[in-house]
Amino acid sequence: MTLLDLSSGETAHILSLEGGSSFISRLNAQGIHKGRQIRKISGSGGHGPVIIEVMGSKLAIGRGMAGRIKVKPTQ
């Protein structure tokens, strides 16, 4: 599943980033990288950017980008 499918309030681990190297390094630089735990705050309503919490800070991510971030919910 991707970041889009995650429900608000849920915690997940990042499995992979689907995109070119500049896409990946841009996300990596802000702490979105394989293995990182994140929490989705909002953006499950089907429109508008997804907001996640990473290492205590908040990031807004456009839906297209969010759809290319594969995640696995934390049990």
């Binding site: 702490g31 909002s42 508008g48 950017p49 990031l59 807004a60 991510i61």
Partner: protein
């Protein structure tokens, strides 16, 4: 010697810069406030340094023009020291850039800024251990108060005397770096669990669409009324009385001294005592900037500064993301638009944080066309307000519609797609009164030093042209076009050509023609849109190149003509609707 201040966006580099150099610098609570580097000097560790405030960046590979500036400075400027400013409340995320700097072999000193705030949030960092593990000096610091300055001095002195020593090797890949950072933060950082404060709860409420939109609407309405009420109150109760009691008597004495009917007197004091119509450099030229415009500048920047420092602008950007996508921008593009309601010059500069040329051009056009700048708005309020709010609203609504239309059109016409929002959202901070007032003062000073001379120059120019007979010559040529297209008398044309100097002046210069409210509405719309002012245009050329700047300006002119003509036609049909 040269010292670079670098780090992630919104960690407080500009505040550190002002602390070290004593220079006032604009800072706000959103990423991307500084897009151009700033230079200053300071003594540190007994040596004189040139200090450069580098725009914030997350990595050494740039994704936008502001980051390009940062990367270029870090690789080309032969820095003797690089102070890496990190946000102590956000240590783990900030260390990625630190590792990149160390990897590049730069002489890094780690400055753990916002140390007090970290403590307040229950975050404790072992700075000595962090320094030992990285192999670079680490100094706790509070830029807003100056706490840690003497330790920084000592550290710099030690570094200059003994050299920096070799930092520990850094893993090459991104994943390796993050692994190391994970270990480091487990070893040096402890975070006590705390219940969320009211502001922290408000943070999430104001970005979730369901609660965020009503909050945004409420904030915008309050903003509008606060600016209008405070501006009007300042004019009526401070600026007007001061002008009448302190300045007017001086003028009257000057009138006596100069005697009647001289050319000098006409230019300095104008031909009537009516201050808005005399066009004397010392009468209208002083009254308009200080009594009509300045109060609105103060009230607008008080409110904008409050929202900037609170951290509201990036949240509005998130809420607007979806709507503004239809105009070809992602949410961050709304920040230049908001700045543009104050002045277009910083708005043009702020387009630098956008990733592509296409986005920057759309943002420039939108920022120019979607609303007048504050000096212009103040003139529109002062000229049209007395006929009723509906005339003022007609101007603003038409202008906003034109702006939106231009965005839709550019988005359709230009190749490429809208980029996606990818932005850090900072936590809310209660703004500090002192910082806020310094910011308002800086923007006021900018207006007084840069705009007031231009306003006076504009008034001088129209006097000179009038006396030389050029006004009537221009009027004669453009009379038919002005009359048929805009329904305005030919004498208003020379006024419009002068609007290129300053937009508020051009609207002011309409006063003596005694236009009807409808004509004024058309003229205000046209003058708002038809050209950017000289200062704005020169920044556009610098940012986008002559070609693109000219294209945007031309687009604005075409829209201005079309919108004003259409509006004139609609207003002339108004007998069809009973009001």
């Amino acid at each position: 010697m040269t010292l670079l201040l670098s780090g992630n966006p919104n960690v407080g580099k500009s505040v550190v810069f002002s602390r070290l150099t004593g220079l006032d610098v604009l800072s706000s609570n959103y990423p991307g406030t500084t897009v151009e580097f700033l230079r200053g000097t300071a003594r540190l560790g007994g040596r004189k340094f040139t200090i450069i405030d580098v725009p914030g960046t997350y990595s050494l590979s740039s994704t936008c023009a502001a980051e390009e500036v940062a990367c270029r400075l870090l690789s080309e400027e032969k820095a003797d020291l690089v102070i890496n400013v990190v946000d102590s409340t956000n240590l783990e995320r900030n260390l990625f850039f630190t590792l990149q700097l160390i990897e590049k072999g730069l002489p890094v000193i780690l400055l753990l800024n916002k140390w007090d705030m970290a403590r307040h949030r229950g975050i404790s960092i072992d700075a000595a251990e962090l320094s030992r593990r990285l192999g670079v000096p680490a100094v706790p610091f509070v830029a807003v108060t100056g706490e840690g300055l003497s330790e920084l001095n000592e550290t710099v002195e030690n570094c200059l005397r003994d050299g920096l020593g070799a930092p520990h090797p850094v893993p090459t890949g991104d994943d390796g770096k993050w692994r190391l950072i994970g270990e480091l933060s487990r070893q040096v950082q402890k975070i006590a669990h705390k219940h969320p404060t009211f502001l922290e709860k408000l943070e999430d409420l104001s970005v979730a669409p369901l609660t965020g939109l009503p909050i945004a609407v409420a904030i915008l309405i309050v903003t509008f009324y606060a600016v209008r009420t405070a501006g009007e109150a300042l004019t009526r109760f401070v600026a007007e009385p001061l002008f009448a009691s302190a300045y007017r008597p001086l003028l009257d004495r000057l009138v006596e001294a100069l005697g009647p009917g001289s050319l000098v007197r006409d230019i300095l004091l104008g031909r009537t005592r009516e201050v808005m119509e005399s066009f004397g450099v010392l009468t209208t030229g002083v009254y308009v900037p200080f009594v009509v415009v300045l109060p609105y500048i103060i009230s607008f920047y008080l409110v904008l500064g409050f929202l900037e420092d609170l951290g509201y602008l990036p949240r509005l950007a998130v809420l607007l993301d979806r709507a503004i996508h239809r105009l070809g921008l992602h949410g961050y593009g709304s920040i230049p638009l908001m700045l543009g309601m104050g002045c277009k010059v910083p708005a043009m500069l702020a387009t630098r944080v956008l990733e592509t040329r296409r986005e920057r051009i759309i943002a420039m056009a939108l920022a120019l066309l979607i609303a007048p700048c504050m000096p212009q708005s103040a003139m529109i309020f002062s000229l049209l307000g007395k006929y009723g709010l509906k005339y003022v609203a007609a101007v603003f609504i038409t202008v906003a519609a034109v702006g939106i239309l231009s965005g839709v059109l550019l988005h359709r016409m230009m190749k490429g797609e809208a980029q996606e929002l990818f932005m850090e959202i900072p936590p809310y901070h209660m703004p500090r009164l002192k910082t806020l007032l310094v910011k308002v003062w800086m923007r006021m000073r900018g207006f007084i030093l840069e705009a007031v001379p231009m306003i006076m120059l504009g008034i001088l120019a129209i006097n000179a042209l009038d006396i030389a007979g050029i006004v009537s010559a221009i009027s004669a040529v453009f009379e038919p076009a002005a009359r048929t297209l805009l329904g305005l008398p030919g004498e208003t044309v020379p006024v419009m050509t002068l609007g290129f100097l300053r937009k508020d002046v051009s609207i002011l210069l309409l006063t003596p023609f005694h236009l009807t409210p409808d004509q004024l509405v058309v003229a205000c719309v046209f003058l708002t849109l038809y050209l950017p002012c000289l200062a704005t245009f020169s920044v556009m050329v610098k940012e986008a190149g002559m070609k693109d700047a000219a294209r945007v300006a031309l687009l604005g002119f075409a829209f201005a003509l079309a919108a004003a003509t259409a509006l004139k036609t609609v207003l002339s049909l108004s007998f069809l609707w009973p009001v």
